[in-house]
């Protein structure tokens, strides 16, 4: 047990300041524990979002020493005992109060994505037929806990504030989870290019680096989607092929293995 120093942002989007706190840190504590302790003992109205405290709900995203992280999965022993830990809200979204941001923009992006549409011919009386190897990729994207840390570090959103033209990594992989669902027959490639801004991502992989679920956002999600856009709109060979042979239908998994 030792007394450690913290600086926590207090305020809203217009004005605020870093406030100093000191508190006892015990073995095994994570940053969220520290915030709760300060909240209970020193600052009852310190605003923070959290739910599961086990890295499963994605509520407690913030920046710890400038790094975007889930506070419930960040242990205090990652930092030196004599160092002051700074805790600030996510930078990309407007601050409501203290460590709580307005993330509502993300919810409006999700609504723009066409829902899943499964191939009726794959339906049997025992449910839909698809195999584990077919679903592995979609399942990787579906691990997303919507912590929005990827949205927070994305340069397009964070530095260039292009929220009107790019949906961000979270929703790129949401589209990927649908496009790579083995039975989905909806087409989202045109809006990916025209509305969701797939061309704006310049593959710096910062989103992948901060993903607490270790989803390969860029390599497995965004790049393959960019390739699909290129195939559809920019590759003369595939464009010609489609003109002659028509749009190729998705190859569905066989009904019997």
């Amino acid at each position: 047990m030792a007394t450690r120093k913290f600086q926590i942002y207090r305020g809203d989007n217009e004005k605020g300041e870093m406030v100093n706190f000191e508190t006892e840190v015990m073995e095994g504590m994570v940053v969220l524990d520290v915030i709760h302790k300060i909240q209970a003992e020193q600052a009852n109205d310190l605003a923070i979002r959290w739910n599961c405290k086990a890295g499963k709900c994605g509520s407690c995203s913030m920046e710890i020493n400038g790094k975007p992280k889930l506070s419930c999965m960040t242990r205090m022993n990652e930092y030196k005992p004599d160092e002051t830990t700074t805790i600030t809200p996510m930078k990309t979204f407007p601050v409501i109060k203290d460590l709580v941001c307005d993330v509502s923009w993300n919810y409006t992006q999700n609504k723009r994505i066409k829902p899943v549409k499964l191939a009726p011919e794959s339906k049997t009386e025992k449910g839909y037929v698809m195999y584990q190897k077919d679903v592995d990729r979609a399942q990787e994207f579906r691990k997303c806990i919507e912590c929005y840390l990827c949205q927070n570090v994305c340069h397009v959103l964070r530095d260039h504030d292009k929220k009107d033209s790019f949906v961000g990594p979270r929703f790129m992989i949401r589209v990927a989870s649908l496009e790579m669902h083995p039975l989905d027959i909806e087409d989202r490639i045109p809006e990916l290019k025209n509305d969701f801004g797939s061309g704006l991502c310049n593959i710096t992989k910062c989103c992948t680096d901060v993903c607490p679920e270790h989803i390969h956002i860029t390599d497995n999600g965004i790049i393959p989607l960019k390739e699909r856009v290129i195939d559809r709109f920019y590759d003369p060979v595939t464009i010609l092929g489609r003109k002659i042979f028509g749009v190729r239908k998705k190859k569905l998994p066989p009904l019997n293995p």
Binding site: M26, E27, N44, D45, A54, K56, N110, L118, Y131
Partner: protein
């Protein structure tokens, strides 16, 4: 005097409180029936407690073992619940779960697959066959995300970070609205509704060691109680046998039962696999009695019986407790759970990825190499709002409840995996029946301003007081009290002490004070939740003292046996005319004899019957 006309009012046919699996299922159903549907939630959409469910949802799909059938699922559920379950609810659940799971797949859920390309199912405590449709160990996340992504295209209005304070009723005693508070701004809003569905989950935050998040403050119980509805079976609180033990700051966080479903074994400090010593008579004929047989079961031998680690949760939690008491506990006062010796590292990472991650990060422990330390943690409320099985309506007209906040389905002990399927089945039934109720109403009732201002005043008084008790400290005292006096093993004297302290806490609560403004003020939110938690805790403690027997999750050291006469009664708590809580022992309804026959059949007879039935339908 407060001017209610200045408070914004929004109208819906059906209003749902809570946006976990049950609330979202209900909202989708109500909206699909053409109802103007609103759903209020304390957190952001998609963050509800359902995301923490790990193991899976139980449904007799028969994809892994074709012998499975709703009757066997029903029998398992009744036996797991020590026959105190509402018979009709358990029947509805077992019958409807498969179609609801398939519908979830239609809406985009991507379950793990069998070799034949169907939804894969895993073993779990108390389930005769592999029955839990799952996605690794993050099934709850899959459920909530699927319902969320489907729901946002169904025309449902979502109200996030909005706390429901209390229910409004009209002069006929029917519900007609809810007063809520926006957490962000601290301003109030009134929702008018023709029917209301409570889907608020449980109240596990009343205990110190809990797997529940801050949201679990028993809001639904308290709102229903204040509105005049009855609460039932609140003495049955499930302590999940395997919560994390160390480090202290993570104590209570859930370790999924799937660890045992996938073969994990429990050991004491002497290295003994102690569960073999705790097999109850009722399960003896269906449980392996040697390590050799348990190993064969894990290898897939259909003739081998299930390992004792997969006995029901109440049994395993008590066994761990007993080992610790006998001085054979693990280093930090629990038991060792080892999967490393039973499965390859690759298998563990594939089947239990979030457990691997959770221990690696929070405890710096590699579960593919070392044993975990686990112990009981407060997990689930079997009891809740008393509802009609078919309609899910409470005793207050127009007030419905589903999911964990409703009583009946799970009896004295819930089987793992029956919760997620409960959310789907009873969420659907609540949505359907609340819609029918709303359709029978021609318009909205007029809001009684006095009721509304009283609710708002109760909330603002907490901020406006000059000085008073710190809500965080009161909550801590409540947790300690429940942990010590109303814990896993209960006894009259301690329960009495517990109630005395609760009375004192109720007094202190009258002067609770939250510092700061009304804008996103966690201290104020904490104080508002505390009222609900105190009502919940009182109902639990008073029911626990009344039930003088041990059954399922309710264990009395002074009444250690399950008593036949108690099987005939439920304990109900409600607000008496004098404003105090009153408890009543009520006789249970006579069950359908066919259901009794199924539940009491031997497993062999029932399986033969199903084989015969299937032959008949095939010819």
């Amino acid at each position: 005097m407060l001017d209610i006309s200045e408070i914004k009012t929004i109208e819906h046919d059906v209003l749902i409180v809570g946006a976990g699996g049950a609330g979202l299922s209900a909202a989708i159903e109500a909206s699909g029936r053409g109802m103007s549907t609103g759903i209020v939630m304390k957190s952001l959409l998609g963050k509800a407690h359902t995301v923490m469910a790990e193991g899976g949802m139980a449904a007799a799909l028969g994809n892994v073992d074709e012998r499975d059938h709703w009757k066997i699922h029903f029998r398992d559920t009744m036996r797991g619940g020590k026959f105190l379950n509402d018979w009709r609810m358990a029947e509805l659940h077992a019958k409807l779960a498969p179609e609801r799971v398939l519908l979830l797949e239609e809406w985009g859920a991507v379950f793990d697959r069998t070799k034949k390309g169907l939804i894969n199912q895993r073993n779990f405590g108390g389930h005769r066959y592999p029955r839990l449709a799952h996605v690794g160990d993050r099934t709850g996340l899959e459920m909530i995300r699927t319902l969320q992504d489907h729901g946002i295209h169904q025309g449902i209005e979502t109200y996030m970070e909005c706390t429901a304070l209390d229910i409004l009723k009209n002069e006929k005693g029917e519900v007609c609205g809810v007063v809520c508070m926006w957490r962000e701004t601290g301003t109030f809003i009134i929702f008018k509704a023709k029917s209301i569905i409570l889907a608020t989950g449980g109240g596990g935050r009343a205990w110190d060691v809990t797997a529940n998040s801050w949201e679990y403050t028993g809001d639904g119980y308290a709102l229903a109680y204040e509105a005049g509805a009855e609460l039932m079976d609140l003495e049955f609180n499930q302590f999940h046998p395997t919560g994390m033990m160390w480090p202290l700051s993570v104590k209570g966080i859930l370790v999924t039962e799937s660890v045992r479903g996938e073969g994990g074994i429990l050991l004491n400090s002497e290295g003994t696999r102690f569960m073999f010593n705790y097999i109850p008579d009722r399960f003896r004929s269906e449980t392996a009695d040697t390590q050799e047989e348990a190993a064969r079961w894990l290898a897939g031998d259909p003739k081998a019986r299930r390992p004792p680690e997969l006995l029901t949760r109440d049994v395993v939690a008590r066994a761990i407790n007993a080992e610790v008491k006998a001085g054979r506990g693990s280093k930090h006062g629990g038991a060792y759970l080892n999967i490393a010796t039973e499965r390859s590292a690759e298998d563990i990472k594939k089947k239990l990825p979030s457990m691997y991650h959770q221990f690696k990060v929070l405890a710096e422990l590699d579960i593919t190499k070392e044993a975990m330390e686990v112990g009981p943690t407060c997990h689930y409320f079997m009891g809740g709002i008393r509802v009609d099985a078919d309609t899910t309506m409470s005793s207050v007209p127009g007030l419905f409840a589903c999911g964990e906040c409703a009583a009946g389905m799970h009896g004295a002990n819930r089987l793992g995996g029956n919760s997620l399927s409960d959310l789907l089945v009873f969420g659907y039934l609540a949505g359907k029946n609340a819609s029918e109720f709303a359709k029978s109403k021609s318009g909205h009732s007029k809001i009684d301003e006095e009721q509304a201002s009283k609710i708002i005043r109760n909330a603002t008084n907490i901020l406006n007081r000059e000085a008073g008790a710190n809500p965080y400290l009161l909550h801590e005292q409540l947790e300690q009290n429940m942990q010590v006096n109303v814990g896993i093993i209960r006894v009259k004297e301690e329960l009495e002490t517990g109630i005395e302290r609760l009375e004192k806490l109720k007094e202190d609560y009258k002067t609770v004070k939250a510092k700061g403004s009304s804008q996103f003020n966690p201290g104020w939110h904490e104080a508002l939740g505390l009222r609900n938690l105190l009502i919940t805790a009182e109902a639990v403690a008073r029911a626990a003292i009344l039930r003088e027997e041990s059954r399922g999750a309710h264990t009395r050291s002074d009444f250690p046996d399950e008593l036949k006469e108690w099987l005939n009664f439920n304990i109900i708590s409600r607000k008496g005319l004098d404003g105090n809580m009153e408890l009543v022992k009520v006789k249970r309804p006579v069950p359908n004899p066919e259901l009794v026959r199924i539940a009491e059949s031997t497993i062999e007879d029932l399986e033969n019957e199903i084989v015969e039935e299937r032959k008949q339908t095939n010819t």
